[in-house]
């Protein structure tokens, strides 16, 4: 099984590369467009539906600094696909170079268990879990901005910070059952 290795290639000069993985390909495109707006570094965005990645692209693919799994909460498939893709990543990625981005979390049709499952997954891998409002332009820009914050650290652009260091600060934790907090 060929796995994606975070250190297989040399980093490009002044370049950060991010891989957006989304089985439904709804949000990828607009997010990618927002990501490349960044001017302080060259942002390289690669898109994929799922892992494994096609071998024929191995040559042209740059060193991936951050893998983002986009999970649409209204679809069970979306979650399953992301979960199945994880095993195609070298464990080195889980030291700060993977993050999950959830869409449609504020929808009444989402079963609470699914969000919990995503949370559990992210927490067990110590990865950050971001929520995105993908339907408004402002939401997309904001999602891109937050990804760039992580990406810059993951690609080593932030002095005195390493990917692992940041991920220790941002990793998802399991929220308690707060249906109604009771202080009694």
């Amino acid at each position: 099984m060929s796995r994606l290795n975070p250190f297989a290639k040399l980093p490009g000069l002044n370049t950060a590369s991010v891989l957006l993985v989304e089985s439904e390909e709804h949000f990828q495109q607009s997010l990618a467009e927002a990501l490349v707006e960044e001017t302080s570094v060259t942002v390289n965005v690669r898109l994929a539906k799922s892992f494994p990645l096609p071998i024929e692209n191995d040559e042209s693919r740059p060193r991936i600094d951050l893998v983002v799994f986009i999970i649409n909460l209204t679809s069970e498939l979306s979650f399953q696909s992301a979960e199945a893709s994880l095993k195609y990543l070298e464990p080195g990625y889980f030291l700060g170079k993977v993050c999950f981005m959830v869409t449609n979390a504020r929808s009444s049709s989402v079963p609470a268990e699914r969000l919990d499952a995503v949370r559990r997954l992210a927490a067990s891998l110590h990865c950050p879990l971001l929520f995105a409002e993908e339907q408004t332009p402002q939401g997309v820009t904001n999602a891109a901005e937050r990804l760039l914050t992580i990406l810059k650290a993951a690609a080593g652009f932030v002095p005195f910070t390493t990917p692992l260091y940041l991920s220790n600060l941002t990793r998802c934790t399991l929220p308690p059952d707060i249906d109604q907090p009771s202080f009694d």
Partner: protein
């Protein structure tokens, strides 16, 4: 039957109302017939309505094409434009009377989407049918759910209230009970609370267990008549009436959107109450429907003549009028409408009516949950709603527990940008959280948001946490009684917290912000804007004792202190100097008070705090004044060789008032003013004693008041840093 209960339960006679529905039906059909000439498309709808109002009981359903066709027509209109009050009356009557059995009944109920309002009379009649005809329980539930959904759209509530006892009697039906409780909750007034009803509810509770819907209703009863309900009710009841997923909600929203009306969804209903009542009247005029508007017009009159002589809040138009009638104001049925009206808030604030706050809180919880947490589109409406909520909280100077509960949930799915100013505003209003809970409720979601978001979010959150701390401290200084360690944080919640518990929470918060600040500064390259927000926070923290009387002093972490001291801009250094000056005043005054009070009292500031303060102070004085920056026992670990290698001349003086990167500009400027002729600038010449004091004076005149205070309180010519150090060891 309905009439019976009307009479036995209400103050006024309703004799004339009995024939209203049939009359209004006929009338509506007449109007409809006129419209037919104008509009061919609506023709079939009018015919359909006529069919439903005239169809004989017992007409077969199976294979009845006419019924199918008419139902389809009605459904089409309902889901596209919504139904007029008259159409709703006709259809409801048809459905609930089971004229053609249950299956069309359910289908009709499901398409009852009001375009504007629902006539109260129709609902009352339907409730009567509930008992008379043999409607299956599931359909009864459906009907009550419908009433709950359109409750805000029912044009008056007086007759519904009059049959309170009648509605109450359905409570024994187990499947209906949760929904009936909800409806009763919305209708209950003080005069409805009777011992036999309380008894019935308690009996049900012993049968069904402590169900949240019963608890909610009982808690409202308890607020109205505490002497009747001796049961203890937890301060927060687990999620109350879970009725928010109703089949009509989205259709209703869609219809209202397409109609361009802001009439209903509970959010907008709350804030357009005045305009709504006007537009409603206008609409009735336009439709020429006296039956309904008479109910409306009658209302104020009957209120005048009834023995309580209450003035509904809606009828108040000015502040002066409110002052005049303050003792006889009646709160509206729709509590949410209070939030949008400044008069209502004034009233609420001065009467401190607990039932009103309870109901408002309850309504708010539902609204926030339904309309916001689980609503995909966030429009201007949501923005307006939250702004109104914020200003209401600001006015009442307290939060609502339901909005707190909502926030704790929302933080876990927030993207950090959606309605950011409003969410952060609400967040800064939450009351003190016990230190055992604060981590999981607040810190964990906020940490994740903070470190993955932009610098501006970081600044916003800092400001929000500063405001939160300020509010907590203000509460403390207002509510804490000197002898009583138990402080009630908020006049309307039953969360009591001891002084030491309060101190723990504040300490947790300050330490948390300290962590965020140190790491945030590091990640953002000590950005000046972020630093300024962080210093704002510490300006609050350093004064906890003197300004707010809380015997607690927490020093900033090194990750905040050193970046501020070594900052390249003079403003940050000046503010740090001010903060250190205030710390000194707080600590000295706490110290002297500690000596006066008995040792066993819980008034103690840890030695560690004093040590940390002295440590910082010594470093600061050494750095700015004594030119002894790299003194042996400081936090600066830089090897001597490295310093030599850097070729910086006299590196130990580099952060004094003259060479500090924040002040070199001033030093050069001063030098030029002092010795205008001199060609080569040697700022070291300022070090001589005369020019030095002039230079300080010059700096102080630039507006650096913090530095001025700091120098005056912590440095004087006689006291050197060494003495200060000894002083600290004595402590």
């Amino acid at each position: 039957m309905a009439e019976t209960l009307c009479l036995s339960d209400s103050d006024r006679s309703s004799s004339s109302d009995q024939s209203v529905p049939s009359r209004s039906n006929n009338r509506s059909l007449r109007i409809a017939e006129k419209e037919r000439k104008k509009n061919e498309a609506e023709d079939s709808f009018v015919l359909a309505l006529r069919y439903f109002s005239e169809v004989e009981a017992g007409t077969p359903v199976a294979g009845n094409d006419e019924l199918d066709r008419n139902l389809a027509v009605v459904e089409k209109v309902a889901f596209s434009k919504g139904l007029s009050p008259e159409a709703i009356s006709v259809l409801l009557e048809f459905a609930m009377s089971l004229r053609m059995g249950t299956s069309p009944c359910v289908r009709v109920l499901k398409c009852l989407i009001p375009a504007s309002v629902v006539a109260q009379q129709a609902v009352v009649r339907a409730v009567v049918w509930l008992n008379v005809s043999k409607i299956p329980i599931s359909t009864q539930v459906l009907f009550i759910k419908w009433v709950l959904t359109v409750f805000d759209l029912i044009d008056a509530k007086d007759q519904l209230r009059a049959i309170y006892g009648f509605i109450f009697s359905f409570i024994t039906e187990e499947n209906l009970c949760p929904y009936i409780c909800h409806l009763l909750y919305l209708l209950t007034r003080k005069e409805n609370v009777h011992l036999y009803r309380v008894r019935k509810l308690l009996e049900l509770q012993s049968k069904l267990g402590r169900q949240p819907f019963l608890m909610h209703l009982l808690s409202l009863y308890k607020v109205f008549c505490p002497e009747l309900v001796t049961l203890s009710i937890p301060s927060r009841i687990r999620s109350g009436f879970k009725n928010y997923i109703s089949p009509w909600k989205s259709a209703l929203a869609a219809v209202q959107k397409s109609n361009g009306q802001q009439v209903s969804s509970s959010i907008s209903a709350a804030f357009t109450i005045k305009e709504k009542s006007i537009s409603r009247k206008r609409k009735h005029c336009h439709l020429d429907l006296p039956a309904l508007s008479s109910v409306l017009n009658k209302e104020p009159q009957s209120e005048q003549t009834s023995r309580r002589k209450m003035v509904p809040l809606v009828h108040l138009s000015s502040f002066a009028q409110m002052l005049k009638d303050m003792h006889r104001i009646e709160l509206p049925a729709q509590m949410g409408s209070l939030l949008g009206s400044s008069l209502a808030l004034q009233y609420l604030d001065c009467v401190q009516e607990e039932s009103a706050l309870l109901r408002l809180n309850f309504w708010l919880g539902c609204a926030l949950h339904e309309e916001f947490l689980f609503c995909r589109q966030t429009s201007e409406e949501a923005l307006q709603f939250l702004n109104n909520l914020l200003s209401a909280q600001h006015f009442l100077q307290e939060g609502f527990s339901s909005s707190d509960a909502f926030l704790y949930k929302f933080l876990n799915v927030w993207d950090g940008s959606l309605l950011r100013p409003q969410i952060l505003g609400l967040l800064s209003n939450i009351p003190v959280i016990p230190s055992t809970q604060i981590g999981r409720l607040l810190f964990e979601p906020l940490t994740q948001l903070f470190f993955t978001s932009s610098m501006f979010f970081k600044c916003g959150l800092m400001e929000c946490l500063n405001n939160m701390l300020l509010k907590w401290l203000t509460w403390h200084s207002v509510y804490a009684l000197e002898d009583d360690l138990d402080i009630s944080l908020n006049s309307h919640t039953s969360i009591n917290i001891t002084l030491s518990g309060f101190k723990d929470s504040v300490m947790e918060l300050v330490h948390f912000v300290g962590r965020l600040a140190s790491l945030g500064l590091q990640l953002e390259g000590c950005n000046t804007l972020l630093l300024s927000f962080i210093l704002d926070f510490y300006e609050t923290v350093c004064d906890t004792f003197l300004k707010f009387g809380l015997p607690l002093v927490v020093m900033p972490p090194p990750g905040v202190f050193y970046p501020a001291l070594l900052a390249t801009d003079p403003v940050s250094v000046d503010r740090l100097a001010y903060i250190m000056h205030r710390y000194k005043l707080n600590l000295t005054s706490a110290k002297s008070q500690e000596k006066q009070t008995e040792p066993q009292q819980a008034f103690h500031i840890s030695r560690h705090t004093f040590r940390q303060f002295n440590h910082y102070l010594v470093f600061m004085v050494n750095c700015l004044w004594n030119c002894r920056m790299f003194h042996a026992n400081t936090d600066m670990h830089v090897r001597e060789e490295l310093l030599h290698k850097s070729n910086v001349p006299q590196y130990w003086t580099r952060f004094d008032f003259i060479h500090h990167p924040a002040f070199t500009g001033y030093a050069v400027d001063f030098h030029q003013k002092c010795w205008p002729g001199k060609k080569d600038v040697d700022v070291n010449s300022i070090k001589q004693s005369k020019p030095w004091s002039w230079y300080l004076e010059y700096l102080f005149n630039q507006g650096f008041d913090g530095l001025k205070d700091f120098v005056h309180s912590s440095i004087s010519r006689q006291v050197t840093a060494g003495d200060e150090l000894q002083d600290s060891q004595q402590r």
